[in-house]
Amino acid sequence: VTRRIIVALTNGALVFAFVLAVVWFWTGSNMEAPVTVVALFAAIAGVRAERWAGAREQRNRALEALRDELARNGETIADERFRPLQGPSIRRRVFPRLNLSAADAAVTSGALGRSTDSELVTLLYQWRDAVRELNHRLDLTEVYLFSADVIQPEELAAFDEALHSADGILTEVSTQLEILEQAVEAQNS
């Protein structure tokens, strides 16, 4: 509401200054002071409105990028490379990784600087920590599995089971993703 009032006042002041300047031009009466006051008022309000508009655009872009990235990460978690294997198909494999570029940018750019964004920013910090931990654990798992000459199917199955267990890191990240997606969706532009 405040933003709309300021935009209206800026535009109003500019129009008013223009009218005063036209009157001053045609009548030759001394209108310098009122024209200057009104023009300066419009300039100051305009700068503020411009900043607001810029910040809003940056926030929207950050949220949009975040939505896209979270959606892609959701698809990655559902990727078949994460699905537990059974029987003859059981084998060593490289797991996909989750991305954090948009989340990192959203936090470091200050695009989420509104006072109402603090809860979202906290969730983003937790999300980044969880994804980094997942990616790190997946790195170690792959190093372990691919370093061994032979891996028994039972051991591979144990890794699948641990990954998808209730206290598994993938389950934790999935939960965090759900919470964060809901928080992002709830944001107003």
Partner: protein, 381 residues
Amino acid sequence: MANDGSLAQVGEILGSGRDSRWALVLSGEKPTDLIKELIHDLAIPHSRKVATKFSYIGMTAAIAWANACSDWFYPVMRDSIDAFDRYWRPILPMVADKGFHYVSLGVGTGQKDRVVLGLHSQNPTMLYIPVDISAEMIRLGIDETKKLTGLRMMPVHLDFSITAHLEDLKQLVHRLVDDQPVIYSLLGNTVANIDEDSELLGSIGDLLRPQDRLLLEVSTTSEISEAALEEARAEYSISETYKIHATSALSQFTDLAIDNKMLVFRAEKEDENIIRIETHYQNATGEPVVVTLPDHRTQIDFAPGETIRVTLSRKYLPSGVDKLIAEAGLTRLSEPPPPRSGRTKRPVFSRDLMLLAKAPPEPRKPTVADDLLRTGKTTRR
């Protein structure tokens, strides 16, 4: 035909303690199965044996056992019965006022059960289930016990050394007592009489729910040495009544002319924790003897010098007791007996009465997979 009313009346008569003639025994034992096992064990040349349980079947065997228990020269059982109250006292506070029912596996002479049944005064609804392979031993064991006014008793005639029988017993007991707690007992070193002692104890441990307890008594030795082996052998060999008990199954189930002088007592180290004591009946006649088995058809040639194992017992080191109960998945609730003072250089034989419970399952050791991919905390959506 009996209906609920007359059955209730029978229960009332039996529970009143006034009429001592009658006893109602629930029989789950097929005599043919026992005879088959006996014939099988006796028919294998050079490893012939009669399982110890057969020394309790039949009235003559039951009486022989009762006589052995009161023999001054067979202190193993007599001392165990006399001192039972003393061993029971520290355990009593752990089970008092908890509303336990009591299932006695191997009634014996019933004297020890009557000590445990002191709990009946605190729990008037207590159900007492004496279980034994021998109907005669049950009758002998509960004769005094059934005089206890108001005690609900359900004797069960069953060979509890067979795992499948224990499963059936478990179902029966659980139907009778629902979720109420039960003390099972295996007293008098009975577990040591079975070839697979730890397996039997494990099967009995499987009867236990978290609220149930097992009262176990075993014979112990302070050491395993030549002196201990000799003393263990002598402990059994000096008693004439024990010899009669030892040969009672052979005497009852075969046509062998028993001469107790042919008994051979052996004590040996079974492993680093156990003294194994066996009584063998040896053909010392110098002639082959033809023995007819209880199916009246099968005959075996009992060669000169050959033996038939007629009893088996064991004495455990304290570490052997710990191993036995750990292997059975049980955990000890009562304090172990204090170590004997080192004043005597002779081996000390004693007994250990302990209260056991089902051990909680051991936590699974984390694998590499767990370390790498589990966070250890369950996330809630």
